[in-house]
Protein backbone atom coordinates (compact mmCIF):
# COMPACT_ATOMS: atom_id res chain seq x y z
CA UNK A 1 0.00 0.00 0.00
CA UNK A 2 2.68 2.42 1.03
CA UNK A 3 4.78 1.51 -1.98
CA UNK A 4 1.80 2.04 -4.22
CA UNK A 5 1.04 5.42 -2.72
CA UNK A 6 4.61 6.60 -3.00
CA UNK A 7 4.80 5.49 -6.61
CA UNK A 8 1.54 7.17 -7.43
CA UNK A 9 2.58 10.41 -5.69
CA UNK A 10 5.85 10.41 -7.59
CA UNK A 11 4.02 9.91 -10.84
CA UNK A 12 1.69 12.81 -10.02
CA UNK A 13 4.64 14.99 -9.21
CA UNK A 14 6.44 14.14 -12.44
CA UNK A 15 3.29 14.79 -14.38
CA UNK A 16 2.72 18.16 -12.73
CA UNK A 17 6.31 19.24 -13.33
CA UNK A 18 6.18 18.25 -16.98
CA UNK A 19 2.89 20.09 -17.43
CA UNK A 20 4.38 23.16 -15.76
CA UNK A 21 7.24 23.15 -18.25
CA UNK A 22 4.80 22.70 -21.10
CA UNK A 23 2.67 25.66 -19.94
CA UNK A 24 5.71 27.89 -19.58
CA UNK A 25 7.01 26.96 -23.04
CA UNK A 26 3.66 27.48 -24.71
CA UNK A 27 3.03 30.83 -23.02
CA UNK A 28 6.52 32.11 -23.84
CA UNK A 29 6.36 31.07 -27.46
CA UNK A 30 2.97 32.71 -27.88
CA UNK A 31 3.25 35.91 -25.82
CA UNK A 32 7.02 36.51 -25.86
CA UNK A 33 9.75 35.84 -23.28
CA UNK A 34 9.56 39.32 -21.79
CA UNK A 35 5.83 39.18 -21.02
CA UNK A 36 5.89 35.91 -19.07
CA UNK A 37 7.51 35.78 -15.66
CA UNK A 38 7.23 32.19 -14.45
CA UNK A 39 8.04 31.01 -10.95
CA UNK A 40 7.91 27.45 -9.64
CA UNK A 41 7.81 26.63 -5.96
CA UNK A 42 7.21 23.08 -4.73
CA UNK A 43 5.90 22.13 -8.16
CA UNK A 44 3.34 24.92 -8.08
CA UNK A 45 3.53 27.22 -11.05
CA UNK A 46 2.90 30.95 -10.75
CA UNK A 47 2.90 33.11 -13.85
CA UNK A 48 2.98 36.91 -13.67
CA UNK A 49 1.77 38.67 -16.79
CA UNK A 50 1.12 42.34 -17.67
CA UNK A 51 -2.47 43.43 -17.32
CA UNK A 52 -2.76 44.32 -21.02
CA UNK A 53 -2.57 40.69 -22.14
CA UNK A 54 -4.38 39.06 -19.21
CA UNK A 55 -7.55 38.31 -21.19
CA UNK A 56 -5.58 36.82 -24.09
CA UNK A 57 -3.55 34.64 -21.73
CA UNK A 58 -6.67 33.44 -19.96
CA UNK A 59 -8.45 32.67 -23.21
CA UNK A 60 -5.42 30.80 -24.53
CA UNK A 61 -5.10 28.73 -21.35
CA UNK A 62 -8.77 27.87 -21.45
CA UNK A 63 -9.17 27.14 -25.14
CA UNK A 64 -5.89 25.43 -25.99
CA UNK A 65 -6.69 21.77 -26.60
CA UNK A 66 -3.59 20.49 -24.75
CA UNK A 67 -3.93 22.75 -21.68
CA UNK A 68 -7.69 23.23 -21.18
CA UNK A 69 -7.75 25.18 -17.92
CA UNK A 70 -11.51 25.29 -18.02
CA UNK A 71 -12.26 26.13 -14.38
CA UNK A 72 -11.52 29.43 -12.68
CA UNK A 73 -11.24 28.09 -9.15
CA UNK A 74 -10.77 31.49 -7.55
CA UNK A 75 -10.11 35.11 -8.35
CA UNK A 76 -9.00 37.47 -5.61
CA UNK A 77 -7.25 40.74 -5.00
CA UNK A 78 -4.17 41.66 -3.03
CA UNK A 79 -2.89 44.95 -1.63
CA UNK A 80 0.92 45.03 -1.63
CA UNK A 81 0.88 48.54 -0.08
CA UNK A 82 3.86 49.63 -2.19
CA UNK A 83 4.04 52.80 -4.31
CA UNK A 84 4.40 50.91 -7.57
CA UNK A 85 2.22 47.95 -8.46
CA UNK A 86 0.09 48.36 -5.36
CA UNK A 87 -2.87 46.15 -6.21
CA UNK A 88 -2.78 42.70 -7.70
CA UNK A 89 -5.33 40.26 -9.02
CA UNK A 90 -4.72 36.53 -8.68
CA UNK A 91 -6.38 33.90 -10.85
CA UNK A 92 -6.28 30.28 -9.70
CA UNK A 93 -6.95 27.97 -12.62
CA UNK A 94 -7.78 24.28 -12.67
CA UNK A 95 -8.15 21.83 -15.49
CA UNK A 96 -11.01 19.39 -15.07
CA UNK A 97 -9.62 17.11 -17.76
CA UNK A 98 -5.94 16.87 -16.77
CA UNK A 99 -6.30 17.89 -13.08
CA UNK A 100 -3.54 20.51 -13.16
CA UNK A 101 -3.45 23.83 -11.46
CA UNK A 102 -1.66 27.08 -12.21
CA UNK A 103 -1.78 30.50 -10.68
CA UNK A 104 -1.85 33.71 -12.72
CA UNK A 105 -0.99 37.10 -11.31
CA UNK A 106 -1.21 40.60 -12.62
CA UNK A 107 -0.61 43.98 -11.01
CA UNK A 108 -2.08 47.47 -11.39
CA UNK A 109 -0.95 50.89 -10.21
CA UNK A 110 -2.49 52.73 -7.26
CA UNK A 111 -3.53 55.78 -9.32
CA UNK A 112 -5.19 53.74 -12.03
CA UNK A 113 -6.45 50.44 -10.58
CA UNK A 114 -8.11 49.23 -13.76
CA UNK A 115 -7.75 46.09 -15.81
CA UNK A 116 -9.91 44.21 -18.31
CA UNK A 117 -12.48 41.72 -17.07
CA UNK A 118 -12.17 37.98 -17.63
CA UNK A 119 -15.89 37.38 -17.14
CA UNK A 120 -16.02 36.98 -20.91
CA UNK A 121 -13.73 33.95 -20.59
CA UNK A 122 -15.18 32.29 -17.48
CA UNK A 123 -18.70 33.38 -16.50
CA UNK A 124 -17.88 32.59 -12.86
CA UNK A 125 -15.49 35.54 -12.79
CA UNK A 126 -18.52 37.85 -12.68
CA UNK A 127 -19.15 37.59 -8.94
CA UNK A 128 -15.49 37.13 -8.05
CA UNK A 129 -14.65 40.39 -9.74
CA UNK A 130 -17.53 42.12 -8.01
CA UNK A 131 -16.17 40.95 -4.68
CA UNK A 132 -12.65 42.11 -5.56
CA UNK A 133 -14.05 45.47 -6.60
CA UNK A 134 -16.00 45.70 -3.34
CA UNK A 135 -13.03 44.90 -1.12
CA UNK A 136 -10.13 46.56 -2.99
CA UNK A 137 -11.68 49.06 -5.37
CA UNK A 138 -10.04 47.44 -8.41
CA UNK A 139 -12.13 48.30 -11.46
CA UNK A 140 -12.68 45.59 -14.04
CA UNK A 141 -13.30 47.28 -17.37
CA UNK A 142 -15.96 45.67 -19.51
CA UNK A 143 -17.62 43.90 -16.58
CA UNK A 144 -21.36 43.49 -17.26
CA UNK A 145 -22.53 44.50 -13.76
CA UNK A 146 -19.81 45.93 -11.52
CA UNK A 147 -21.74 46.58 -8.31
CA UNK A 148 -20.70 45.96 -4.72
CA UNK A 149 -21.04 42.38 -3.56
CA UNK A 150 -21.33 42.58 0.26
CA UNK A 151 -21.31 46.13 1.49
CA UNK A 152 -24.15 48.63 1.01
CA UNK A 153 -24.14 50.46 -2.31
CA UNK A 154 -23.75 53.86 -0.65
CA UNK A 155 -20.57 52.81 1.21
CA UNK A 156 -17.58 54.76 -0.09
CA UNK A 157 -14.56 52.80 1.10
CA UNK A 158 -12.87 49.51 0.28
CA UNK A 159 -12.31 47.61 3.52
CA UNK A 160 -9.59 45.11 2.55
CA UNK A 161 -7.20 47.89 1.56
CA UNK A 162 -4.32 48.11 4.00
CA UNK A 163 -5.04 51.75 4.81
CA UNK A 164 -8.62 51.01 5.94
CA UNK A 165 -8.89 50.90 9.77
CA UNK A 166 -10.08 47.64 11.33
CA UNK A 167 -13.03 49.22 13.13
CA UNK A 168 -14.07 51.16 10.06
CA UNK A 169 -14.64 54.86 9.59
CA UNK A 170 -17.23 56.25 12.02
CA UNK A 171 -20.42 57.28 10.30
CA UNK A 172 -19.61 55.56 7.03
CA UNK A 173 -22.22 52.86 7.70
CA UNK A 174 -25.34 54.50 9.12
CA UNK A 175 -27.50 52.75 11.73
CA UNK A 176 -31.27 53.13 12.07
CA UNK A 177 -32.42 55.56 14.74
CA UNK A 178 -33.19 54.15 18.16
Amino acid sequence: MRLWRRTSLNRCRLLQVSVNQKVIEQLKSRFGESNIEANEFRDELTVVVPKEIIVDVCRFLKDDSTLKFDLLADLCGIDMYTPAKRFGVIYNLYSLTSHHRIRLKTFVEEENPKLPTVSTVWATANWHERETYDMFGIIFEGHPDLRRMYLPDEFEHHPLRKDFPLMGIPGSLPLPKK
Binding site: Y150, L151, L166, M167, L173, P176
Partner: protein, 197 residues
Protein backbone atom coordinates in the same frame (compact mmCIF):
# COMPACT_ATOMS: atom_id res chain seq x y z
CA UNK B 1 -63.84 42.10 52.84
CA UNK B 2 -66.35 43.70 50.57
CA UNK B 3 -66.74 42.50 47.01
CA UNK B 4 -65.04 39.08 47.32
CA UNK B 5 -67.30 38.32 50.23
CA UNK B 6 -70.41 39.20 48.30
CA UNK B 7 -69.42 37.29 45.15
CA UNK B 8 -68.15 34.12 46.76
CA UNK B 9 -65.39 31.76 45.61
CA UNK B 10 -66.23 31.91 41.91
CA UNK B 11 -64.83 35.41 41.44
CA UNK B 12 -61.40 36.93 41.80
CA UNK B 13 -61.08 40.68 41.98
CA UNK B 14 -57.82 42.32 40.91
CA UNK B 15 -56.46 45.25 38.99
CA UNK B 16 -57.12 44.92 35.27
CA UNK B 17 -53.42 45.50 34.49
CA UNK B 18 -52.34 42.62 36.67
CA UNK B 19 -54.77 40.32 34.95
CA UNK B 20 -53.76 41.46 31.46
CA UNK B 21 -50.05 41.22 32.24
CA UNK B 22 -50.58 37.74 33.63
CA UNK B 23 -52.23 36.74 30.37
CA UNK B 24 -49.48 38.33 28.33
CA UNK B 25 -46.59 36.78 30.16
CA UNK B 26 -47.86 33.25 29.64
CA UNK B 27 -48.16 33.53 25.89
CA UNK B 28 -45.16 35.50 24.72
CA UNK B 29 -44.98 34.65 21.05
CA UNK B 30 -41.42 35.01 19.77
CA UNK B 31 -40.31 36.53 16.51
CA UNK B 32 -37.28 34.36 15.65
CA UNK B 33 -34.74 36.82 14.29
CA UNK B 34 -32.22 34.03 13.65
CA UNK B 35 -29.33 35.68 11.86
CA UNK B 36 -26.54 33.19 12.49
CA UNK B 37 -25.42 30.28 14.66
CA UNK B 38 -27.32 31.30 17.83
CA UNK B 39 -30.45 30.47 15.84
CA UNK B 40 -29.58 26.78 16.11
CA UNK B 41 -29.74 27.01 19.89
CA UNK B 42 -32.93 29.00 19.57
CA UNK B 43 -34.43 26.10 17.59
CA UNK B 44 -33.35 23.71 20.33
CA UNK B 45 -35.06 26.03 22.80
CA UNK B 46 -38.30 25.53 20.92
CA UNK B 47 -37.78 21.82 20.35
CA UNK B 48 -39.01 18.91 22.46
CA UNK B 49 -35.99 18.55 24.73
CA UNK B 50 -36.01 22.07 26.16
CA UNK B 51 -39.61 22.72 25.24
CA UNK B 52 -40.42 26.39 25.36
CA UNK B 53 -44.10 25.50 25.29
CA UNK B 54 -43.84 24.86 29.04
CA UNK B 55 -43.71 28.65 29.28
CA UNK B 56 -46.18 29.43 26.54
CA UNK B 57 -43.61 30.52 23.94
CA UNK B 58 -43.66 27.67 21.49
CA UNK B 59 -45.48 29.59 18.79
CA UNK B 60 -42.67 31.00 16.70
CA UNK B 61 -44.23 33.58 14.44
CA UNK B 62 -42.46 34.44 11.24
CA UNK B 63 -44.76 37.41 10.87
CA UNK B 64 -43.73 40.30 13.11
CA UNK B 65 -47.33 41.45 13.29
CA UNK B 66 -48.30 38.42 15.34
CA UNK B 67 -45.40 38.35 17.78
CA UNK B 68 -44.63 39.85 21.17
CA UNK B 69 -40.94 39.32 21.75
CA UNK B 70 -38.14 39.46 19.21
CA UNK B 71 -35.25 37.11 19.89
CA UNK B 72 -32.30 38.56 17.98
CA UNK B 73 -30.03 35.53 17.65
CA UNK B 74 -26.82 36.14 15.79
CA UNK B 75 -24.21 38.52 14.43
CA UNK B 76 -25.92 41.72 13.35
CA UNK B 77 -24.08 43.53 10.58
CA UNK B 78 -24.68 47.15 9.68
CA UNK B 79 -26.38 46.00 6.51
CA UNK B 80 -28.72 43.72 8.48
CA UNK B 81 -29.42 46.32 11.18
CA UNK B 82 -31.86 48.15 8.92
CA UNK B 83 -33.80 44.93 8.36
CA UNK B 84 -33.88 44.07 12.06
CA UNK B 85 -35.13 47.54 12.92
CA UNK B 86 -37.77 47.40 10.19
CA UNK B 87 -39.11 44.09 11.49
CA UNK B 88 -39.08 45.42 15.04
CA UNK B 89 -41.07 48.45 13.95
CA UNK B 90 -43.69 46.17 12.42
CA UNK B 91 -44.36 44.41 15.71
CA UNK B 92 -47.40 45.62 17.61
CA UNK B 93 -47.10 47.14 21.09
CA UNK B 94 -46.39 45.95 23.72
CA UNK B 95 -43.16 44.36 22.53
CA UNK B 96 -39.91 43.16 24.00
CA UNK B 97 -36.44 42.34 22.69
CA UNK B 98 -34.06 39.61 23.84
CA UNK B 99 -30.46 40.02 22.65
CA UNK B 100 -29.24 36.45 22.44
CA UNK B 101 -25.53 35.73 22.50
CA UNK B 102 -22.26 37.64 22.59
CA UNK B 103 -22.39 39.01 19.02
CA UNK B 104 -25.84 40.47 19.42
CA UNK B 105 -25.11 41.93 22.84
CA UNK B 106 -21.69 43.43 22.15
CA UNK B 107 -20.36 42.40 18.76
CA UNK B 108 -18.69 39.43 20.40
CA UNK B 109 -15.58 38.18 18.68
CA UNK B 110 -16.40 40.20 15.57
CA UNK B 111 -14.59 43.36 16.53
CA UNK B 112 -14.63 44.64 12.98
CA UNK B 113 -15.99 47.39 10.76
CA UNK B 114 -18.99 45.48 9.45
CA UNK B 115 -20.57 44.25 12.70
CA UNK B 116 -22.71 46.41 15.02
CA UNK B 117 -21.03 46.36 18.42
CA UNK B 118 -24.25 45.63 20.31
CA UNK B 119 -27.79 45.90 18.98
CA UNK B 120 -28.72 48.29 21.80
CA UNK B 121 -27.29 50.96 19.51
CA UNK B 122 -30.48 50.83 17.48
CA UNK B 123 -32.99 48.72 19.47
CA UNK B 124 -34.34 48.96 23.02
CA UNK B 125 -33.11 45.69 24.50
CA UNK B 126 -34.90 44.19 27.50
CA UNK B 127 -32.63 41.24 28.24
CA UNK B 128 -29.13 40.21 27.29
CA UNK B 129 -28.26 36.51 27.18
CA UNK B 130 -24.61 35.61 27.71
CA UNK B 131 -22.85 32.82 25.82
CA UNK B 132 -21.36 32.03 22.46
CA UNK B 133 -23.81 30.59 21.72
CA UNK B 134 -25.91 30.50 24.90
CA UNK B 135 -27.25 27.12 25.86
CA UNK B 136 -30.99 26.73 25.30
CA UNK B 137 -31.56 26.62 29.06
CA UNK B 138 -29.94 30.03 29.31
CA UNK B 139 -32.47 31.33 26.81
CA UNK B 140 -35.23 29.67 28.81
CA UNK B 141 -33.91 31.52 31.85
CA UNK B 142 -34.09 34.76 29.88
CA UNK B 143 -37.67 33.96 28.98
CA UNK B 144 -38.54 33.40 32.64
CA UNK B 145 -36.89 36.69 33.60
CA UNK B 146 -38.77 38.38 30.80
CA UNK B 147 -42.03 36.94 32.12
CA UNK B 148 -41.33 38.54 35.48
CA UNK B 149 -40.67 41.78 33.70
CA UNK B 150 -43.90 41.53 31.72
CA UNK B 151 -45.81 40.84 34.90
CA UNK B 152 -44.33 43.97 36.45
CA UNK B 153 -45.42 45.90 33.38
CA UNK B 154 -41.92 46.87 32.31
CA UNK B 155 -40.73 47.26 28.77
CA UNK B 156 -38.05 49.40 27.26
CA UNK B 157 -39.53 49.68 23.83
CA UNK B 158 -43.14 50.66 24.40
CA UNK B 159 -45.06 53.83 24.58
CA UNK B 160 -45.56 55.18 28.13
CA UNK B 161 -49.28 54.43 28.03
CA UNK B 162 -48.58 50.76 28.43
CA UNK B 163 -46.27 51.06 31.41
CA UNK B 164 -48.23 50.47 34.58
CA UNK B 165 -47.38 50.50 38.23
CA UNK B 166 -48.98 47.19 39.05
CA UNK B 167 -46.82 44.47 40.55
CA UNK B 168 -47.83 40.89 40.82
CA UNK B 169 -47.05 39.28 43.13
CA UNK B 170 -46.23 42.51 44.93
CA UNK B 171 -42.95 41.26 46.40
CA UNK B 172 -41.68 39.80 43.13
CA UNK B 173 -38.46 41.42 42.06
CA UNK B 174 -35.60 40.59 39.80
CA UNK B 175 -33.30 37.92 41.23
CA UNK B 176 -30.04 39.32 42.51
CA UNK B 177 -27.09 39.23 40.15
CA UNK B 178 -29.11 39.52 36.95
CA UNK B 179 -28.71 42.48 34.73
CA UNK B 180 -31.95 44.10 33.71
CA UNK B 181 -32.27 47.32 31.89
CA UNK B 182 -33.82 50.33 33.56
CA UNK B 183 -36.74 52.01 31.79
CA UNK B 184 -35.75 54.79 29.46
CA UNK B 185 -36.18 58.34 30.68
CA UNK B 186 -39.20 58.96 28.50
CA UNK B 187 -40.72 55.66 29.56
CA UNK B 188 -40.97 56.45 33.26
CA UNK B 189 -43.99 54.81 34.88
CA UNK B 190 -47.10 56.84 34.43
CA UNK B 191 -50.07 56.74 36.79
CA UNK B 192 -52.71 54.31 35.65
CA UNK B 193 -55.88 55.75 34.16
CA UNK B 194 -58.84 55.21 36.41
CA UNK B 195 -61.13 52.59 34.95
CA UNK B 196 -64.72 53.57 35.47
CA UNK B 197 -67.19 51.07 36.76
Amino acid sequence: MGLEHALGDSFLTTQIDVAINWCRKNSLWPMPMGISCCAIEMMAFAGPRFDASRFGSEVFRFSPRQSDVMIVAGTTTYKMAKVVRKIYDQMPDPKWVIAMGACTSSGGMYRTYSVVQGIDQFLPVDLYVAGCPPRPDNLLNALILLQQKVQRGESRGNSPSYIGEAKFPPEADTPKGWRTSAPLAQNQPQPLPIIAG
